[in-house]
């Protein structure tokens, strides 16, 4: 199908974009990569009167890494963030998650910030931002505000971005200490939206004992769910930890829904199995001497499990 008619705006600078968004208010939408918005328009599920195309704002096409984390501008494509070596060293979870976002061709155009604003409960980046406790910077005519991940996602396909507002960047903080991460999911085919996905971070002390274990989930809750699973693992080493217990606890604490892709029971089973697996891999990465004090282990061979069903 074809999109409904709209007025097209192509601002050349951020101030011009904010002016336009302010003028069109409720009837306007930002067009970023269009990889979620244009399918919605093509299927006539939305009919905004105005589209403000931000693809001309090349000043926002950046990925900046410093000692504290990675800031991703609104026009950075998924593929650019995924390929960025500094970002990968500082926050490995970004690449670990991004390579599960759709297919490379979609990642060439879709933006990471756009996928956060889109707030799909199956969107990998929502889990990454939530697990890391990151934030999104919003701008409007006459002001900016920063919203933490916990407040940013308000419902399925709903974020707190208001009419007239635009997300200008997202911030992904670096995890401290001897921390390893992993992102795995189960999808019917690699690149499809996941039936369940898990982003995990495990922190070890200098004796390689687990001091913290947390996981964030996709496709099992209306907004990204972050669980602290430390109680089942604290004090154990990656060799002795009882990963299945952590998986059981996670399954107890999630209440997935059934849909055409998977039943609630199957999703809960996936939570159990994928949690155990993701935590184990994250812990092994954290224990890797190469990781030293800071960082999440940058094993590129990592996510072999990504298109798996659920064995264990």
């Amino acid at each position: 199908m074809k999109p409904p008619a709209f007025r097209y705006h192509s601002p050349r600078s951020l101030p011009e974009a904010l002016d336009t968004l302010d003028a069109v208010g409720h009837d306007g939408k930002v067009l970023a990569g269009g990889q979620s918005l244009i399918p919605i328009l093509n299927m006539r599920l939305a009919a905004p009167g105005h589209l403000v195309d931000i693809n001309g704002l090349t000043e926002l096409a950046y990925v900046r890494t410093d000692a504290d984390g990675v800031r991703v501008g609104a026009l950075a494509r998924h593929a650019d963030v995924e390929a960025d070596a500094d970002a990968h060293r500082a926050v490995s979870l970004l690449r670990q998650g991004l390579r599960l976002v759709a297919h490379p061709v979609i990642r060439n155009r879709g933006t990471t910030v756009g996928s956060l604003v889109h707030a799909d409960p199956s969107g990998e980046m929502t889990a990454v931002l939530s697990l890391l406790g990151g934030s999104v910077e919003l701008a409007r005519l006459g002001g900016t505000r920063r919203v933490g991940a916990a407040d940013f996602f308000t419902g399925p396909l709903e974020s707190c971005v208001e009419p007239g507002e635009m997300a200008v960047s997202a911030y992904f903080p670096r995890l401290r200490g001897r921390t390893g991460t992993e992102f795995i999911e189960a999808a019917r085919r690699h690149g499809d939206y996941a039936m369940c996905g898990v982003a995990a971070a495990v922190t070890l002390d200098d004796d390689l004992r687990i001091v913290s274990a947390r996981a964030a989930y996709l496709s099992v809750s209306p907004v990204p769910l972050v669980l602290d699973l430390t109680e089942t693992l604290a004090g154990a080493t990656p060799d002795t930890a009882h990963w299945r217990a952590a998986g059981e606890l996670a399954a107890d604490r999630t209440e997935p829904d059934s849909d055409i892709h998977a039943t609630a029971e199957y999703r809960r089973h996936l939570v159990r199995v994928l949690t155990a697996r993701a935590l184990r891999t994250a812990a092994v990465r954290g224990a890797d001497p190469a990781v030293g004090g800071d960082g999440q282990g940058s094993d590129d061979q990592g996510s072999d499990d990504r298109e798996c069903g659920a064995r264990d």
Partner: protein
């Protein structure tokens, strides 16, 4: 509301083209209907099938998920632009022919544009990598086996020249 129209200039396969389009004209429809370049096919119009894939500044993207007005100022390569100006086929096209990588041909333009871009960055893919590279494109005819072979064969032609022997591409 009278529909807003745009006079646009697009650089397609190295040629500057002009068209008058409404804001909502998808790039895929602009290529096919306004510019008469019907090599780009349209299947699903929501990004899933890959038939409409073209290269924008050398990177493969879905032309059904882009508006023609947004493509101004970018270099667009469609399947028509893959062959040499003298008509000799691109290595990927030649490999598809040799390996029987197509039957009805509906999906083929999308595969060709994706694979041509992929092999530029990954000149020597393994079979697993070849499968991953085409993972975003659907084909209802071939069962994919011959398309995977064609990716490997095209890599070989690009690396060794067109007279590389047509032996069965051995999976690695």
């Amino acid at each position: 509301m009278t529909e807003q129209m745009h006079e646009i200039e697009l650089r397609v396969n190295g040629v500057l083209r002009t068209a008058t389009v409404p804001s909502r004209r998808l790039l895929s429809d602009c290529l096919r209907h306004d510019l008469g370049l019907t090599g780009t096919h349209v299947g699903c119009e929501h990004g899933v099938c890959g038939a409409c894939t073209v290269q924008i500044d050398g990177r493969p993207m879905r032309s059904c998920l882009m508006f023609a007005v947004s493509a101004r100022g970018h270099e667009i390569t469609t399947v028509e632009g893959l062959a040499d100006p003298d008509g000799s086929m691109h290595a990927v096209q030649q490999a598809f022919r040799e390996c029987h990588g197509l039957q009805c041909g509906f999906c083929t333009p999308g595969f060709l544009t994706v694979i041509a871009a992929y092999l530029r960055d990954h000149p020597d893919p393994t079979e697993a990598e070849a499968r991953e590279a085409i993972g975003g494109n659907l084909c209802r005819c071939t069962g994919y086996q011959n398309i995977v072979k064609a990716v490997l064969r095209a890599a070989r032609i690009l690396n060794e020249g067109t007279d590389a022997p047509v032996a069965e591409e051995a999976p690695r």
